[in-house]
């Protein structure tokens, strides 16, 4: 008799603790969201592993898939900032971006700037690619622009440079202490990738404001948050910590992985 009760107790205890494990998702693991916590720090090492492994197995020049024109079945879905309201951007937009300059600075031999007309007169590349948002959705669109690599060469990237930081016009977040402007960054492999273009055209039309006018950088082997819209300055650096909260980008500062290739 006692054996039966023991087993029944065991079953009951197991069931209760088992359901506790299932319900544990409630909030027991919310501490993992604390980016300074030790568990989170260890887990973020997996992002470094992903980056290292993908860089090791994927060729520097390996292209993202390009699609047929028939695969463009809808407009490019705008997301994130769709209509920046900083005075600087509004003034440029008012003048149809006549005064726009793209600047390349930082660890370069000479700082260079290009107007929109100059960028449009440079060698052009058109690619129909799939844009993958970190949220999970995808959208195929045709992007036209000029490759970034030759422009970096014109500026002369110093051998100490390790990253490009992309500074943007859009106030992605407005806080009591002021606007937070969008920025992100990449390594030089992504910057020099043949499909990394400074796009000014989308689906055979001028790049609209909602998709990043006048210039949006495409980094086709990464997720959407690595495709900075409203781009105005590319800064070559050897350290990402001085920018924002030091994680290499606006979304990266909120906890997204820096590499963004997965």
């Amino acid at each position: 008799m006692s054996r039966l009760i023991t087993r029944r107790n065991f079953l009951r205890t197991s069931a209760v603790s088992g359901s506790g494990l299932i319900l544990a998702g409630c909030d027991q693991f919310d501490f993992l969201a604390d980016k300074s916590g030790p568990a989170r720090q260890i887990m973020e090492r997996a992002n470094v592993l992903t980056y290292s492994v993908q860089r090791a197995v994927i060729g520097e020049q390996t292209l993202a898939r390009e699609y047929a024109a028939s695969e463009i079945r809808q407009g490019m879905r705008p997301n994130g900032s769709v209509d920046p309201t900083t005075p600087e951007y509004l003034a440029l937009k008012e003048a149809n971006f006549a005064g726009y300059k793209l600047t390349i600075k930082g660890l370069v031999d000479r700082e260079v700037s290009f107007s929109l007309a100059e960028l449009r007169n440079m060698p052009e590349r058109t690619q129909i690619t799939r844009h993958d948002c970190v949220e999970g959705w995808s959208c195929i669109a045709k992007w036209t622009g000029t490759p970034l690599g030759p422009l970096l060469d014109m500026a002369g990237v110093k051998s100490t440079a390790r990253y490009c930081v992309y500074h943007c016009f859009d106030n992605i977040q407005r806080t009591l202490s002021g606007d937070i402007l969008y920025y992100t960054s990449s390594d030089l492999i992504d910057a020099y990738h043949p499909q990394s273009i400074l796009s000014y055209g989308l689906n055979d039309e001028v790049l609209p404001v909602s998709n990043g006018a006048p210039i949006r950088l495409r980094i086709e082997r990464a997720l959407g948050y690595k495709q900075p819209k409203y781009l105005h300055t590319i800064e070559l650096v050897d350290d990402l910590t001085p920018f924002g909260k030091g994680r290499g980008g606006y979304w990266e500062d909120t906890g997204y992985d820096w590499y963004g290739g997965i």
Partner: protein, 283 residues
């Protein structure tokens, strides 16, 4: 009842059934899959819809599953759409959860996501961390189980196992379990399906969602019929693994939880009376 003669009941031999490799990988997987599931639902909640094809239809329809919330005459309700059919899923917490004063509108409710609130960044960090451990453990298991014979002996069904399926179905339906030296036909089929179909599928479809991997292995996109189809398959395999888990736990309880747990912790398993003894067994 029969406790009176339980002591005198003949016992089968105590056999060393689960190798250290099987036991360690089992529990590592259990932890990994727990975190992968709950962070996976967090990631799904960032865009709670599944599609067929390369892209997500915003101006055309190619979705096969969607969780959202709709306004009705009775106030907001959670709504789940499967293959174009709408279901009120408020009772399940899908699309709308929380209490009446403070409803929460997410795909899956916070009780089954990590973190409990919307935090895609954390969900991804934890998902990929356990994803790596999960894949490494699969690798270790396959190498060890190939070498020590676990795959050949216990996992790959033999013709005699296939022939034995009908009887095994009847035995399971009547809760008559035979505790033998190796697994029964249905057990073998279930584990074979998990190791050789579901695990490889969930890893491959996961990799197919990586734009980096797409560049080096675009054939994965073709194999699964597009990135969004891969995402849908990833989700379906998750559901199948959850179904496996539920049945797995039910069977552990039905077949004798102490004996089953002991075998997966110490390796030693009490076989049914009448099981022929062999070298290495304990009485």
């Amino acid at each position: 009842m029969s406790q009176a003669n339980a002591a005198t009941k003949p016992k089968g031999p105590l056999i060393y059934r689960q190798s250290i490799w099987t036991r360690v990988t089992h529990w590592v997987w259990a932890i990994c899959l727990f975190f992968l599931l709950l962070t996976g639902l967090q990631i799904f909640n960032a865009h709670p819809a599944l599609y067929i094809g390369q892209q997500s239809g915003f101006e055309f329809e190619n979705s096969v599953f969607k969780i959202g919330a709709v306004n009705t005459d009775a106030g907001p309700r959670g709504q789940t759409t499967v293959l174009g059919q709408n279901f009120d899923s408020t009772a399940l917490g899908l699309g709308m959860s929380g209490n009446a004063e403070r409803p929460v509108y997410t795909g899956f409710p916070g009780g089954v996501t990590i973190p409990s609130y919307r935090d895609l960044g954390t969900g991804r960090v934890v998902h990929f961390f356990f994803g790596w451990i999960f894949v490494a453990t699969i690798f270790v298991w396959f190498v060890a189980s190939f070498i020590n014979g676990h795959i050949r002996r216990d996992i790959v069904p033999r013709p005699s196992d296939i022939a034995g399926v009908p009887k095994d179905v009847v035995d399971h339906a009547t809760l008559r379990f035979k505790h033998g030296r190796t697994y029964g036909p249905l057990q073998k089929l279930a584990y074979f399906g998990v190791f050789f179909v579901l695990f490889p599928l969930i890893v491959a479809t996961g990799l197919t969602m990586s734009p980096g991997m797409n560049s080096i292995a675009p054939w994965l996109l073709d194999l699964f019929g597009g990135r969004q189809t891969a995402r849908t398959i990833h989700f379906i395999v998750m559901l199948l693994l959850v179904a496996f888990f539920v049945i797995h736990i039910l069977m552990v309880f039905a077949a004798g939880p102490i004996n089953e747990l002991r075998s997966m912790i110490t390796g030693w398993y009490r076989a049914s009376p009448g099981t022929p003894s062999s070298e290495g067994d304990k009485p």
